[in-house]
């Protein structure tokens, strides 16, 4: 029932688009003409009038007359029936032959099946018209031959489609189950597979019918289709074009008819395919959701609250009240909601948090790399004393291109697959440092060497797919070293790598930092990694910094219940592996639905009424650490992180409600 409703709604969706509606109306008109055309205009279409041959349009003959004085408009309308009948016959042949050929590999299996599908693949490569000509020769000139020709020429496409669809459905569990139960292939095909692929086949047949109509008129236009005295649109066109200088309407009327009918089928098919397949995004005006707006007002970060001290001289990156806003179909989301921090020269700052905490977006925002549909706002965003909220300029690009290095999460996709590694590195130097191609490439080889890519000269000429993941990540770091970076922003640089390679990449980052006093912002969900590499750790939750603590104090001096839960969730050497690993109950906050008050309250064992009503500000302590919690440092009810002793409560939870901390 539900699916019937859904179907009806989708049909309505198709028919309410201007294109879908136009196509549907045209289709109905064509159908009506197919039935009524010959009945209504049959006699006038055949009425010969030798005194009025090849006449131009007139009130009696709207589209003029042909060389026997017959009315062109009447003939065009009457020809609807034959044109449609032939097109439908042809598409039937195409679908039938295509189904047979497409299902054959599944039914035959093994070598014979592969042979059929290979043959189909060869045939698909040939254009339909060429196949149609071939079959037209074999079947002879005439309507029957043309039906077979157009039909068989269309078969390979449907065979390919059927093959793909069958393979998809045949891979599903219930089909496999039926096979295991000993049901024969033919029976499976008829009972399980065909009903499931009927819908896409019908949609494609509709589009195909338009194609068949056009192909048929093409053949008739060449004189290879319908023969006199019968006539379809193509035949009328064939007769009309020879007289185009005398009466252009004789060619234009049937031409228009073919075009409209063909378009009707095509557009209808496309609309249906779109309506039933991918949901169309509607460009709705940006409505601000009330609840969220209220929440935004409530937790607006209050300027200087808990801000780090006024920026000192050695501050490389200065961030105040950073916000990132994205438009959505129903309003906007703010995945980053007021983040403030400084990074000093040579300092390594870690940013930890669960996915969706806004840590990666924060990294992108301070690097001016948030995708263009997002809006970045900040009270202050300065890097090396340059305002990063300023509009783009060549000077700013050069400064960022040479002073700010980025390392992304997935080295497999972060290099351009069509360009050589060396060139991709060298680009930085040619773009920003005015080096020539050869010089720049030389520097690229040098940098690859310095990130310990063996045989760097040869490697520089290779493509990314020839590098292993670890090498790519090192090459990416090398790319950042093409300039003279003051800051490296690394967004989960080791997440996609093998454990053995992770350490190499972390060592490399640490080395670079030590050698040139380069600052590092390391985004990670891995508390251990951050504690190892960084001086200071920012803990993010639901788009805000909830704690800013020294890496050394992370284990012992963390004040926020969330930080303490994260730390406790890390397994140690002495963790009892017979017990399930510790987890933080509940799920992270959806950026689209941030609750009022402290976002962590729902998962926090210390939460009270105040927490749910008022978002705690980020307050600085004497030692420079910061925390945003009404109950900072209060002892947690035991146990904070539930382990085996307290599993009863957890067992009730769904598996996906447990967010595993690393």
């Amino acid at each position: 029932m539900a699916s019937d409703h859904g179907r009806a709604r989708r049909w309505r969706g198709v028919l309410t688009t201007p294109v879908g509606l136009t196509a549907a109306v045209l289709l109905v008109a064509v159908a009506v003409l197919t039935v009524l055309g010959p009945v209504l205009w049959g006699t006038s279409a055949d009425a010969v009038d030798t005194r009025d041959v090849l006449a131009t349009p007139s009130p009696e003959h709207w589209a003029g007359t042909d060389n026997l004085g017959r009315d062109i408009l009447a003939r065009t309308l009457v020809a609807t029936r034959l044109s449609m009948v032939l097109a439908v016959c042809a598409i039937t042949v195409a679908v039938a032959a295509g189904l047979l050929l497409g299902a054959a590999p599944y039914l035959l299996g093994g070598r014979a099946g592969r042979l059929v599908s290979a043959a189909v693949n060869v045939a698909v490569a040939f254009p339909g018209l060429l196949l149609a000509l071939f079959f037209a020769v074999v079947f002879g000139v005439g309507a029957t031959g043309a039906v077979m020709a157009v039909g068989l020429a269309g078969a390979p496409v449907f065979a390919r489609l059927t093959q793909t669809l069958v393979a998809q459905v045949a891979g599903r569990d219930y089909v496999s189950a039926a096979r295991v139960a000993g049901v024969g292939r033919l029976r499976i095909l008829l009972r399980h597979v065909l009903p499931n692929i009927a819908e896409p086949l019908v949609v494609n047949a509709t589009i195909g019918a338009g194609g068949a109509l056009l192909a048929f008129s093409g053949l008739s236009f060449l004189g290879l289709g319908v023969q006199s005295p019968a006539y379809d649109w193509g035949r009328l066109l064939y007769d009309g074009i020879s007289a185009i200088y005398v009466n252009p309407a004789a060619a234009l009327a049937p031409g228009l008819a073919v075009l409209l009918a063909g378009l009707a089928f095509n557009l209808f098919g496309e609309s249906v395919a779109k309506g039933f397949g991918v949901p169309v995004l509607v460009g709705a005006p940006e409505l601000r959701s009330r609840g969220r707006a209220a929440a935004a007002a409530a937790d607006a970060p209050t300027g200087t609250d808990g801000d780090p001290d006024e920026a000192a001289d050695d501050v490389v990156l200065e961030v105040r009240d950073l916000e990132v806003v994205f438009p959505t179909a129903t309003g906007t989301v703010r995945p980053v909601r007021g983040v403030s921090f400084d990074v000093r020269r040579g300092e390594a700052v870690g940013v930890v948090g669960e996915s969706g905490s806004g840590k990666s977006l924060t990294a992108l925002a301070v690097s001016r790399l948030v995708s263009e549909d997002g809006t970045v706002r900040a009270g202050r965003l300065r890097f090396l004393d340059q305002d990063l909220t300023a509009p783009d300029s060549p000077a700013l690009r050069r400064m960022l291109g040479t002073s700010l290095a980025m390392v992304f999460q997935d080295p497999m996709t972060s290099f351009n697959p069509t360009r050589r590694i060396g060139r991709q590195l060298a680009e930085v130097a040619t773009e920003h440092q005015g080096l020539g191609r050869a010089e720049a490439l030389g520097r690229a080889v040098d940098r690859l060497d310095s990130v310990r890519i063996p045989d760097a000269g040869r490697r520089a000429r290779q493509y990314p797919h020839e590098f292993s993941g670890g090498m790519r990540q090192r090459a990416m770091i090398g790319m950042g070293l093409m300039g003279t970076p003051s800051l490296v922003v690394a967004d989960e640089p080791t997440t996609a790598l093998d454990v053995t390679v992770q350490q190499q990449v972390l060592d490399l980052l640490a080395e670079i930092r030590a050698a040139d006093d380069v600052a590092l912002v390391l985004i990670s969900h891995d508390v251990t990694v951050v504690a190892e590499v960084c001086d200071r750790v920012l803990v993010m939750y639901a788009g805000r910094i909830v704690e800013d603590v020294s890496a050394a104090g992370l284990a012992t001096r963390a004040q926020h219940p969330y930080t303490r839960a994260l730390v406790a969730a890390v397994p140690h050497m002495d963790t009892d592996l017979d017990q399930p690993l510790a987890t933080i109950p509940g799920r992270p906050v959806d950026p689209a639905e941030v609750p009022a008050g402290c976002a962590y309250a729902a998962r926090c064992p210390l939460a009270d009424a105040r927490c749910r009503a008022e978002d705690p500000p980020l307050v600085a302590a004497v030692d420079g650490s910061r925390v945003a919690c009404w109950h900072a440092g209060e002892p947690l009810p035991d146990p904070v992180v539930r382990t085996a002793e307290d599993r009863t409560g957890l067992d009730a939870l769904d598996a996906d409600e447990l967010v595993e901390a690393p």
Binding site: P127, L129, L130, V137, L224, I244, Y245, G262, F408, R458
Partner: protein
């Protein structure tokens, strides 16, 4: 680092590797060999099909060609001349032999060698197809790229809708109808351009236009979609992180990747363009293979039809192979990825 010490397929790709693999193990050699083999098999299928065509025709093709009134002796003489009385394998062998020696038989109607007929008509068709292809690429790639940039994520919803609808409508119009419309507007009404033959440079304008408008619309659509997809890729973010100029990001980093995917579909398009010349030639009385094959089919001049089908088929196969090769040059991964 362990990954680098063992010679892998990746290492093999370098030409200057110290422990270079033997030349026949180079990926591009393997790739070329596979492609050549595939081409060879396809050509064989094509040749066999064109040979089989004349035998699939019900009844006696010679009788059909000469008409029911032709004297039996003449029919018999022609049959013998064509070798139609020999056993099939012998005929097949002769056919293959003929192909290698450049003998495609004799026209049943004009008695001219088929090779001469094809040789005479081929250049006009080739010129038309190549010009139309260049024209559609020259329009579609910049247009698709521009629209891809304009309609990338979060931009130009209206532009996208307008372009997509227009291109679907334009692409649906068959080339011969575009031809008829062009003849009417520019030939009949305005009288600006010649509508028949290929005697002058102006005579090329309308046929090339009618052949290229539809494919250009489809190709532009594909390029746009690929461009939008590619602009979301991680390596585009890397390029932005390098602070390259937008133009460089779009043209150097995004476009080659977008074209790589567009090329496969573009190849099919080009193939259909080769066949599209048949209809367009008949609209414009173009003295090429397309008008010849149609008149030959109507006259049942089978040797000529056979030869032209073969030429068209070869054209399509060569185009497809060329597409594969350029794909490999643009995106080296495709050499290894493809079996």
């Amino acid at each position: 680092m362990t990954t680098t010490s063992t010679p892998t397929l990746a290492d093999a790709a370098s030409t200057s590797a110290a422990a270079a693999p033997r030349w026949w193990e180079q990926p591009w050699v393997l790739f070329a060999a596979r492609r050549a083999l595939r081409l060879l098999v396809s050509v064989w299928v094509l040749v066999t099909a064109s040979f089989a065509m004349i035998h699939l025709i019900p009844g006696d093709p010679v009788r059909g060609a000469l008409g029911p009134t032709a004297p039996a002796a003449l029919v018999e003489a022609r049959r013998t001349a064509l070798g139609l009385d020999d056993p099939l394998p012998v005929q097949y062998l002769h056919y293959l032999q003929g192909l290698f020696t450049g003998d495609l038989g004799t026209s049943l109607i004009s008695q001219l060698p088929v090779v001469d007929v094809v040789g005479q008509r081929l250049p006009a068709t080739l010129a038309l197809a190549v010009l139309a292809f260049l024209a559609s690429v020259a329009v579609a790639v910049p247009l698709g790229t521009l629209l891809g940039v304009l309609t990338r994520r979060g931009h130009g919803r209206r532009t996208e809708l307008a372009f997509t609808t227009t291109s679907i409508v334009v692409a649906t119009v068959p080339d011969f109808l575009i031809g008829v419309a062009l003849v009417y507007v520019f030939g009949v009404e305005l009288g600006w351009l010649p509508v028949a033959g290929n005697a002058s440079a102006e005579a090329y304008v309308l046929p090339v236009l009618s052949l290229s408008i539809g494919p250009a619309a489809i190709l532009a659509r594909i390029v746009r979609v690929e461009m939008v997809t590619v602009l979301e890729a991680d390596y585009i973010r890397t390029a932005r992180a390098k602070r390259l100029r937008a133009r460089r990001i779009h043209l150097r980093h995004a476009l080659p990747n977008a074209l790589t995917s567009a090329l496969t579909l573009g190849g099919l398009l080009l193939g259909s363009m080769v066949a599209g010349t048949v209809l367009v030639e008949n609209v414009f009385a173009w003295p090429g293979l397309g008008s010849t094959i149609v008149s030959s089919i109507l006259n049942k001049d089978y040797p000529v039809v056979q030869a032209i089908v073969l030429v068209y088929g070869l054209g399509v196969l060569l185009v497809n192979t060329a597409v594969d090769v350029s794909l490999a040059l643009l995106d080296p991964r495709s050499m290894i990825r493809e079996g």
